[in-house]
């Protein structure tokens, strides 16, 4: 069944339809909100409000304009933006970042430790990006959306999205310089020559 039909049914009180719709889209919306805000609690709130507003005002979603997921991403983005405006300093304490890290448990202890460190560094680097660059990176790299879809979600043209993405990548490369294999190789070579 299509998203539009499910939404129509859900808005008329069909709980099963609502659950199907929610199951379909909850993970990407939650992931997006989590990577934007850097907190599970905030991501939970944003995802909740996102779905609830969809049920309250189903007419605000126009299937001719975009897919439901795109609409939900845009709604989550707006809610996250509201949060950014309310809390001007959107930096998450590093302790909190480390607490929420998720690394596969069935790995060797040393490998696990290294992965945890890398994950924390990547998260820190992404969270240190300005919100507009961050959302571009999250939608492109993590959610694997096309530039056109991102442009639709953020309400900007493709060129703007590209430039934000490019700047975000530069920032990430700077922050994660020590973790690039090419850099390590160059550094090692430099040491050998000396």
């Amino acid at each position: 069944m299509t998203d539009e039909k499910l939404l129509h049914k859900a808005s008329r009180g069909d709980e099963a339809a609502f659950l199907i719709l929610y199951e379909r889209h909850r993970a990407p919306v939650f992931r997006f909100a989590y990577r934007l805000l850097g907190s599970t609690e905030l991501a939970e709130d944003v995802t909740h409000d996102c779905f609830l507003s969809l049920i309250k005002r189903p007419a605000s979603f126009d299937p001719q304009r975009a897919a439901l997921r795109t609409y939900l991403y845009a709604a989550a983005r707006n809610l996250a933006g509201k949060h950014f405006r309310q809390h001007a300093s959107n930096t998450v304490p590093i302790d909190e970042l480390l607490d929420e890290l998720r690394v596969p448990e069935n790995e060797e202890p040393l490998r696990q430790l290294l992965n945890e460190e890398l994950s924390a560094e990547v998260r820190k680097a992404v969270m240190s990006l300005p919100p507009l660059q961050r959302e571009a990176v999250v939608l492109f790299e993590y959610e694997e959306l096309s530039l056109a879809e991102i442009a639709l979600i953020v309400g900007a043209d493709i060129g703007t999205v590209k430039s934000r993405l490019s700047r975000a990548r530069e920032g990430l490369r700077r922050s994660l310089l020590h973790y690039f294999k090419s850099h390590r190789r160059t550094a090692t070579a430099g040491r050998v020559y000396k």
Binding site: G13, L19, R26, R35, T40, T47, V103, V126, L172, L176
Partner: protein
């Protein structure tokens, strides 16, 4: 010659294809991240959706649906509608339109010319204060019945007195006379005589 031309055209076509391919590759590389960065970014995984969110959202959904099915009284009052038959609705609309047009076409009341604003100016005018001179005049109401010998004496004294005949004549007419002592009397420039009756003793 024709072969050369064909060859040149093929070369140009080939160049054009090359340029287009280069452009496409460049665009692709702009949009696509380098593998290393992508691998690094992938090391940060997002947590699973918490179960509490599912429960919380389902509760909110049920509440929302319940409210939508039975809206509160204030919302029902504000959003409720009353069905009206079409002819009545039409007549009402026509009546409203006619009334509005009549009100709009009614001549507007003549604008009154604005009166010039009178400037208030305080002018002090010297006022001559009136001087009031009060003379108390006592009037003897009635003459006591005089005894014969007293009467005679009085007549004699009267005759001897310088009081004119007018007084005696007045007495004869009215039955009483005024005893006025005019000695050392100096007339005022202006005089207002006020007769004070007996029962208004407090009047000045």
């Amino acid at each position: 010659m024709s072969n050369e031309r064909k060859y040149l055209r093929l070369l140009r076509l080939n160049d054009a294809h090359k340029t287009r391919d280069e452009k496409t590759t460049r665009r692709f590389s702009e949009a696509t991240p380098d593998r290393e960065l992508k691998t690094l970014l992938a090391s940060w995984e997002a947590p699973d959706v918490p179960r509490s969110l599912d429960h919380h959202l389902l509760t909110s959904y049920r509440t929302e649906q319940r409210e939508a099915a039975h809206p509160p009284l204030w919302r029902r009052t504000l959003t409720s509608s009353v069905p009206i038959p079409l002819p009545i609705a039409g007549l009402t609309v026509v009546a409203l339109v006619v009334t509005s047009v009549m009100l709009a076409l009614r001549p507007s009341p003549v604008m009154l010319e604005a009166l010039p604003v009178a400037a208030t100016r305080v002018v002090e005018v010297p006022v001559a204060q009136e001087r009031i001179v009060t003379r108390t005049v006592f009037v003897e109401k009635k003459e006591r019945p005089i005894r014969k010998n007293e009467r005679r004496g009085a007549i004699a004294a009267r005759e001897a007195n310088t009081v004119g005949d007018s007084a005696s004549r007045a007495k004869e007419l009215t039955g009483y006379f005024t005893r006025v002592n005019m000695s050392e009397f100096q007339p005022a420039n202006e005089m207002k005589i006020r007769v004070i009756k007996g029962n208004r003793s407090d009047e000045k």
